[in-house]
């Protein structure tokens, strides 16, 4: 079973994510130490908390994380975790992991923020991650910021809420979703299963 290490920023609920990952065939653990990360087949950046607070917590392992990513370890960022894959955020100070180029900005004032609830994810670039999912499919969102990748080629799916934004990005070993697959019922579980199959390949 591939080992998935869920990065712990010290806030929020990682229980569902751990539960969901074990259901799709990962052996998940939660932590932040280098010793733990050394064993990781996959690094998961979960989606709870605030950009600056999370970056602060990551400081001690940041360099180690970016080295892992450069050496090809699969990274999967969810919600805030996806935003951390990029360089900057309007939510606060601090530099993200910058594994993808671009920044995060706030959703427009024309809509209620946070974007909270189930919205459609429309596939723009078919990948194995979308196998047996309808197009579009419904997933659960809970966020106030969203990333704008410099390279539009990394966008695999989009969602519209006041503005059209990237809800799935992927480049080589780096994957990010703005929605929470672990809170998106059967559809979310299917997405995670596709991810698991992709890793095992």
């Amino acid at each position: 079973m591939p080992k998935a290490v869920i990065i712990d920023y010290g806030v929020g609920n990682l229980y569902n994510l751990k539960h969901a990952l074990s259901e799709v065939g990962f052996s998940p653990s939660i932590g932040l130490s280098k010793a733990l990360l050394k064993q990781a087949d996959v690094v998961i950046l979960p989606g709870v908390g605030n950009f600056s607070a999370a970056i602060k917590r990551l400081t001690i392992v940041k360099e180690y994380l970016t080295d892992l990513a450069r050496n090809g370890a699969p990274f999967f960022g969810i919600c805030l975790g996806m935003q951390l894959l990029f360089r900057k955020s309007e939510e606060g100070n601090g530099e993200g992991l910058a594994l993808l180029e671009g920044g995060n900005i706030r959703l427009p004032c024309s809509v209620k923020v946070p974007h909270m609830g189930w919205n459609t994810v429309t596939i723009v670039k078919p990948t194995v991650l979308f196998e047996s999912l309808e197009d579009p499919f419904y997933c659960y969102f809970a966020h106030s910021y969203y990333p704008i990748p410099d390279d539009r080629n990394v966008i695999c799916a989009e969602t519209t809420y006041g503005v059209k934004f990237a809800s799935v990005v992927a480049k080589n070993n780096i994957l990010g979703t703005q929605f929470h697959p672990e809170k998106s019922g059967d559809v979310g579980l299917r997405f995670l299963e596709n991810f698991s199959n992709f890793i095992k390949r």
Binding site: V48, G49, N50, P114, S144, T160
Partner: protein, 267 residues
């Protein structure tokens, strides 16, 4: 397609059992929280709310093991409230499997807690619950609204509907948004458990006055009530308890009814 409207079943839990009353009183047993949670998750609930309704008045902590048991049965977002008075209470609840925490009494008594929670866990994690009751007498400085039953303002109550605060619910809603709340769970005490329909005037007044999502609660009795509160009431989500607990309508039935009338829901 836009963001869908959410249908949210609510588990009011009293010492480990789901209960339901009328106007916050005369509580009746409605089943096991984990069993109901599982059923609702499978029936297409968009989220689940769990309120430990006696934690605050009994000044005790929330029932951790029950929260965990419920969390392990579902794969949809899960909000937990009742007796959360500090950052550390919130952290314990979140680590026990909740995705969001709901605060009510503590928010009124120490508004700075809203900001602290929001800064630590992110705005999307912080639900402020407001229990409101109509007041038909005029009072200076309160926002009055024209209703079928006469002109009134809405007073905020704490301690599970036991204590009036003198606060105006519409003004309080705007204040909690400013302090960092990510969502408002708005319950009409006048309608709670009556199955006579949501308080549309209350919901609409609050929803129009804030720029964060509003969950309407209290009074759901039939599918038309959901339609009204999500359209006329301008709610972003509708919460109900008794009609789901007692199998009067399934969540699927309500959602199909809504979609047939042009409301976007997840099916």
């Amino acid at each position: 397609m836009p963001l869908t409207k959410r249908i949210i079943p609510c588990l009011d839990v009293d010492h480990g059992k789901v209960v339901k009353g009328v106007h916050f009183l005369n509580l009746k047993d409605a089943g096991d929280p984990a069993e109901l949670a599982k059923r609702y998750s499978e029936e297409g609930a968009d989220e689940l709310v769990f309120l430990d309704i006696t934690a605050s008045s009994e000044k005790r902590k929330i029932l951790k093991d029950v929260v965990k048991r419920v969390a392990s049965e579902i794969d949809i977002p899960f909000t937990v409230g009742g007796g959360i008075r500090s950052l550390s209470d919130a952290r314990t609840t979140l680590c026990g499997g909740a995705d969001k925490v709901s605060i009510n009494t503590a928010a009124v008594e120490q508004p700075s807690l809203i900001t602290k929670l929001s800064e630590s866990f992110g705005r999307q994690c912080v639900v402020v619950a407001i229990d409101a009751k109509r007041r038909y007498e005029e009072k200076r400085g309160k926002i009055t609204v024209e209703t079928k039953e006469g002109r009134c303002w809405f007073e905020v109550y704490t301690y599970g509907g036991r204590r009036p605060t003198g606060l105006d619910a519409i003004q309080w809603a705007a204040k909690v948004e400013q302090l960092g709340a990510g969502e408002i769970l708005l319950t009409s005490m006048d309608r709670d458990g009556t199955e006579k329909g949501f308080d549309l005037e209350l919901t609409r007044s609050v929803s129009e006055n804030v720029n964060i999502p509003v969950i309407a609660s209290g009074g759901a009795g039939c599918p038309e009530h959901f339609l009204e509160v999500l359209s006329i009431g301008k709610a972003d989500a509708a919460l109900a308890a008794s009609i789901f607990h007692y199998n009067k309508y399934t969540i699927q039935f309500i959602k199909r009814f809504l979609r047939a009338r042009g409301v976007e829901v997840r099916l």
